[in-house]
Symmetry: C2
């Protein structure tokens, strides 16, 4: 984390300059060059009090490496959010200078251990929103869909902290189901080094995939592929209906 | 949201001054009085780049009213997070000046409609973390436990936007289960005005309860009541095991 003091002032910049696919961090550069003063350039006003704060393309592999190491500091939600936010702080700065990823540790274990949304996806939700605003919701939707249908983990650490045999398709974004299926397959406990490393690698995978989609977005090439869950099911829902409901899946009114 | 420009600088304050139960916003006052400069007072250094950012006691009823109205702007996660963050911005300022609650809209419908953690609880997680840091995790744990075991909604809006008959105990922090049980009981669709108002009132309840526990914390009287889920179950988990597993609840290794 950068420690130098910087000022957050209103900055007038064109909305079309907020996102850059060139690796050039327009917003951050503007703030730094002006020492926090007003910059008049544009046809629209963007302040640090508004989102999105902008995005610049990141290297997915480097981001995955950071997420893997971050997991061992503060678990899953921090792993993904810090891997991306720390790089945006470095490359863009501005409002990102004052958003500590430590604030998102609480998402671990599906929200302080309640096994709900996998903390890596909570991290992805936070980051995509700050980086891409409303469009970030579409990116998050596709990251969640991908998470459930993909054999994870994929990531191979250069220096693994533990070795294990199995991968699995969770068919769900819920921590309890995702990690539970894997623990059963591998035959290990929650506190085992193998389970910890599996989750650290999943964090790396989610960070990699999130940045891959954000990079497409930065290039103007992102289109949401997965349908809206509530439109599809008539209720907010995961996809694995029969896993809990068996053959008696209720049909909500209004479908 | 306040719109005046303010500076975020390193501020040296005593950690024991960060939290005040007197309604006096020590951190914000210090920043404002010094115009963003350094203030040396203390035995510890706190910067806006670190959490927690501090808390001052809020009125639970007023916070519930704000959350109810907020729901109709940007749904559940924003409803709770904005109800609390907007007041902390007003009363404490400093780093809160630059944390737009709009960044947390994505939590709606259990994460963009995936029905996982109820967005009101995602909002509670975000706010308790910024306000109370590591202790915020304990507060969140108790808010989640209370959510599952309480007949909701309790809140009665002065001017209800819809009228309905039923309340329910969700026995789960999952949006899909919480809203699904209620929709079945009330016999309405997701898009009905009744369902929307039920969720707006639940947001008011979660905001009320979160602030009630944060106020206890500010008074130095908060003690976590609900056990750690992973310690209890040997896996990150909700409490309603048989609802999905039936009588065949697996026993994880290492319990």
């Amino acid at each position: 984390m950068r420690t130098e003091t910087s000022k957050l002032s209103k900055v007038d910049v064109s909305r079309r300059n907020l996102i850059t696919g060139t690796g050039k961090a327009v917003v951050g550069a503007a703030i730094i060059s002006a020492g926090g003063g007003l910059i008049s350039k544009a046809d629209a006003t963007v302040t640090p009090e508004q989102t999105p704060w902008g995005y610049t393309k990141l290297d997915p592999k480097k981001t995955a490496d950071l997420a893997y190491e971050n997991w061992y500091k503060n678990y899953c939600c921090y792993a993904v959010s810090a891997a991306i936010l720390d790089q945006l702080r470095e490359k863009i700065g501005g409002p990102y200078d004052h958003l500590p990823a430590e604030a998102f540790i609480w998402g671990h274990g599906g929200a302080v251990g309640w096994g709900t949304l996998c903390g890596t996806l909570t991290g992805a939700g936070i980051v995509t929103s700050f980086a891409a605003g409303k469009k970030g919701e579409e990116i998050l939707n596709d990251v969640i869909a991908w998470y459930g249908e993909t054999e994870l983990p994929i990531y191979k650490p250069a220096k693994p902290k533990a070795v294990f045999k199995h991968t699995n398709v969770s068919d769900s974004p819920l921590c309890h189901i995702s990690v539970g299926k894997w623990m059963k397959k591998e035959g290990v406990a929650l506190k085992s080094p193998e389970r910890k490393d599996r989750c650290a690698r999943v964090a790396a995978d989610v960070a990699f995939h999130t940045v891959t989609l954000l990079n497409k977005f930065a290039d103007g090439e992102f289109e949401m592929e997965s349908d809206s869950q509530s439109a599809e099911y008539g209720i907010t829902a995961q996809n694995n209906c029969m896993e809990c409901h068996g053959n008696d899946v209720p049909e909500p009114k209004g479908i």
